[in-house]
């Protein structure tokens, strides 16, 4: 075996070892820990820039910009319940109410077909990695004030994501 071959084999072996370990550590922490798996549990992020509560006439709308940054790639993340509340008022939207409330969906430019939507069983849903703005016409009129909006996503352990929005009178 020539010396050049031995050196080349050592260099490429080192590259393989480094790539496997670095990618494993970055992806799962499986070299020095802590162990994690971002692909297990859905994580919905509410993007504040395009999220708001607003009134048009006697109707209240919730514009909700969400993205799914963690979880399985095989099936979408569902938001099966949204609670909008303040100190004196609570509105609960279950899957059927969510499905009836959606009046518009704006998908990300890179969105895939069928990745974002709504139905009576899942509420609103979106696939891993995508980003969408859902506009919901709420079944009740809300008055000006500050409201907490909580999104419930089926997961173990329990997952919910919230933001506080201020409704202004237009």
């Amino acid at each position: 075996m020539s010396k050049a071959f031995t050196v080349a084999a050592a260099i490429f072996s080192l590259i393989v070892i480094i790539l496997i370990l670095v990618v494993g550590q970055v992806s799962y922490g499986n070299v020095v820990g802590p162990l994690f798996n971002n692909s297990k549990k859905p994580k919905i992020i509410i993007c504040p820039e395009n999220t708001e509560l607003y009134n048009i006439g006697n109707s209240t709308f919730l514009r909700l910009n969400i993205t799914d940054i963690d979880g399985p790639d095989a099936y979408p993340a569902s938001v099966t319940m949204i609670v909008i509340k303040n100190s004196t008022f609570t509105l609960i939207l279950n899957t059927e109410a969510l499905s009836k409330s959606v009046v518009n969906i704006t998908k990300a430019p890179w969105d895939l077909k069928k990745a974002v939507g709504y139905n009576n069983y899942s509420g609103i849903y979106l696939c891993l990695g995508t980003d969408a703005v859902f506009t919901l016409k709420l079944p009740v009129h809300l008055y000006a004030g500050s409201y907490e909006v909580i999104l419930y996503v089926p997961a173990l352990p329990h997952a919910d994501y919230s933001t506080t929005l201020t409704l202004l009178n237009h």
């Binding site: 020539s2 050049a4 071959f5 080349a8 084999a9 490429f12 072996s13 590259i15 393989v16 790539l19 496997i20 990618v23 494993g24 970055v26 992806s27 799962y28 499986n30 798996n37 971002n38 692909s39 297990k40 799914d68 940054i69 963690d70 979880g71 399985p72 790639d73 095989a74 430019p109 890179w110 969105d111 895939l112 077909k113 069928k114 990745a115 696939c127 891993l128 990695g129 995508t130």
Partner: protein, 180 residues
């Protein structure tokens, strides 16, 4: 070389065939599924379009994210890339299995394995994508260094006909990289 040494060498080199077949079939299967068995996977207008899958890579793709988004925002560019990639999968797989220019195709396969790194974080029940990436890379580099083992492959006949030779005989580094 004594017959004992020769036997040992045969055992060592013939042992590479399972690796050649396994790595080759992984690539060949990936390419066949997209390019031939279900061409809709390469059609931007189809719900089966494989680029759709790339969306799921995005959240933890790190430095690869801008490139992935540019593909997703230009589906025709993405389709072209995927079509070329799929045919390379077929070629890499086929030539590793039949042992034709094994070192070259194993090198190309290794580079393609590295391109799977942005998806390595996916695997809801185990470390699926990272394991695929790791074994394809290690298998590819092993074959790139060792060649086809000069058994059960076209390279054996090329070796018999043309002898042991580098890619270019007069170029310093390339002359050490054997063709077969």
């Amino acid at each position: 070389m004594s017959s004992k040494e020769l036997d040992l060498q045969h055992v060592e080199t013939i042992s590479l065939f399972p690796i050649r077949f396994a790595v080759g079939w992984m690539w060949l299967d990936g390419g066949l599924r997209k390019a031939l068995l279900k061409p809709a996977k390469l059609d931007p207008n189809s719900p089966s379009f494989v680029l759709n899958k790339v969306v799921t890579f995005l959240p933890h793709a790190g430095v690869f994210r801008p490139e992935l988004i540019s593909f997703l925002e230009n589906p025709s560019l993405g389709a072209t890339f995927l079509t070329i990639f799929s045919w390379f999968e077929i070629l890499v797989g086929l030539f590793l299995i039949i042992g034709f220019l094994t070192r070259l195709w194993a090198f190309i396969g290794s580079a393609m394995a590295v391109s799977l790194a942005p998806a390595a974080w996916l695997g809801s029940t185990c470390e699926d994508e990272w394991q695929i990436f790791s074994l394809l890379l290690a298998g590819g580099v092993t074959l790139m260094l060792a060649g086809a083992g000069r058994y059960w492959g076209v390279d054996y006949f090329l070796y018999k006909k043309f002898g042991d030779r580098g890619i270019f005989q007069n170029v310093p580094i390339l002359k050490w990289i054997k063709l077969w």
